[in-house]
């Protein structure tokens, strides 16, 4: 399944990780994608649905939306703006 803007440059597998680990992983790995590229996080943690967009807002990145990984787990995508 592709994201809203094609495949992300980097996808983080945070299945099974509790809140707030998926957002921590986003923070840790943002620097690994270039400005303009998309970073995705796959997470079962229900808080990620609210917290990935909130993280993007607070850190000045662009939240693109949610789709599903092939196994049905939610995947959240963020474009690096800065």
């Amino acid at each position: 399944m592709t994201g809203p803007d094609g495949q992300p440059a980097l996808e983080l597998d945070c299945r099974g990780l509790p809140c707030p680990r998926p957002v921590i992983e986003l923070g840790r790995h943002l620097g690994e994608v270039a400005v303009g590229e998309v970073l995705a996080v796959v997470a079962e943690d229900p808080a990620a649905r609210a917290d990935v967009p909130a993280w993007a807002r607070m850190r000045g990145q662009e939240y693109l939306g949610e789709d599903a990984a092939p196994d049905g787990v939610a995947r959240y995508q963020v474009r690096r703006l800065a």
């Binding site: 509790p18 809140c19 957002v23 229900p46 808080a47 649905r49 609210a50 917290d51 909130a54």
Partner: protein, 387 residues
């Protein structure tokens, strides 16, 4: 005021979670003891002890009515959860005969209101319609009224102020279409904020906890002439809403606490507003903190913020170790492991959440000490995360 040393488990922590529970107001304590001694009988009984209890209960209703600017026959003492469920759904039930089966609520309503709405609409085959809120959690009254204009809508609910993020709602500005009545959930705010005096709302609920009364005493207000029909098993009118023996002593204690709280309110809340502003400035100065709720039009005693990358449970534990009792809306602190629906509804960060709420007797020194400790705790936990 006691001083507190970090790690000293013998000293009670400084209560910064007054919204969740606090010691009884001294006025309530005094009345409770006396009322238990005198008002133990069933106030419906015709004998002497029954008449005594009846007198006390009527007195409690009179005091509460006077405090809130409503009529005595609009005041009912019922358990707090019942006040919400029956108060709200009673308005809906009264409109069910014309086929109305949907309810309008705000997404930031207390879980009790949301559960009640889901339960009632599911039984009727209807839907819950959610009015949108802005980033502060405030409903647009016109949008709420527009949603309520659909013929399927039986009733609407709007809180007076939010229990988690303190934002007040423009209850007085809600003008619902004919045939749809407004329920106001004031469970987190009665005694702190006034209910609008106009005819705009038809039923309301309060919990004595919010004004220093017994936490088990709730208040259901059903306006004179409002169409209200008991939605749960029991007699049709509100008189029997709580079922069983009325809690005379609890009602009297709640009434005494309300009267005392309102008498002290201006001074106490002016101070708490100032101290919350001080807390807000401290939280805002921390890096990567999301401040939630309206900074001005809010409950006087409550502040919520979320710290990026930090688990809410670790924050609560670390602050407790430092001698401060705070609450959190983060998923890891909830029995459901779901994040606060209020924080999610306003687009706020749900992890690393801290809710601070000040008791009326909070001291300047307690708040200052917290403002000194908070940055250290956040720094320490952030260092562990490495971000």
């Amino acid at each position: 005021m006691s001083t507190h040393t970090a790690g000293d488990r013998s000293a009670p922590p400084t209560l910064l979670d007054a919204a969740a529970g606090r010691p009884l107001h001294p006025a309530a304590r005094e009345v409770l003891d006396a009322a238990l001694a005198r008002g133990w009988a069933d106030p419906r009984a015709l004998h002497g002890p029954g008449r005594d209890a009846r007198l006390l209960l009527d007195n409690a209703r009179e005091v509460v009515a006077e405090c809130l600017g409503v009529r005595r026959d609009e005041v009912w003492f019922v358990p707090p959860a019942d006040a919400v469920v029956r108060g709200f759904l009673g308005l809906a039930e009264a409109r069910a005969a014309r086929g109305a089966r949907d309810l309008v609520v705000a997404p930031v309503e207390h879980a009790q209101v949301r559960h009640a709405a889901a339960w009632w609409t599911a039984r009727r085959g209807g839907d819950v319609r959610e009015a949108p809120v802005d980033r502060d959690g405030r409903v647009d009254p016109a949008a709420l009224a527009a949603l309520a204009a659909a013929p399927e809508v039986a009733a609407a609910a709007l809180q007076l102020a939010n229990h988690e993020i303190a934002t007040t709602q423009p209850v007085a500005d809600v003008h619902l279409p004919e045939g749809v009545d407004l329920f106001v959930d004031a469970s987190a705010s009665l005694g702190l904020l006034d209910l609008p005096s106009g005819p705009g709302w038809s039923a309301a609920a309060g919990c004595a906890k919010s004004w220093g009364g017994p936490a088990w005493v709730g208040l259901m207000l059903v306006r004179h002439g409002a169409r209200w029909s008991n939605p749960l098993p029991g007699e049709p009118g509100p008189a029997d809403a709580g079922g069983g023996l009325p809690d005379v002593a609890g009602a009297l204690a709640a009434a005494a606490a309300l009267r005392a709280t309102l008498a002290e309110r201006d001074a106490v809340d002016e101070r708490r507003r100032r101290l919350v502003d001080r807390l807000r400035t401290t939280a805002a100065a921390l890096p990567d903190v999301d401040l939630v709720g309206d900074p001005v039009d809010r409950l006087p005693h409550l502040l919520t913020f979320s710290c990026l990358y930090l688990p809410g449970d670790a924050l609560v534990r670390e602050l407790d170790r430092e001698g401060f009792a705070v609450a959190s809306g983060s998923a890891c602190t909830a029995s459901t492991l779901e994040p606060s629906h209020v924080l999610a509804a306003v687009g706020a960060l749900t992890h690393g959440n801290v809710r601070v709420s000040l008791a009326p007797d909070v001291t300047e020194d307690e708040v200052e000490r917290f403002c000194g400790v908070l940055p250290r705790v956040v720094d320490r936990l952030r260092a562990e995360v490495g971000l």
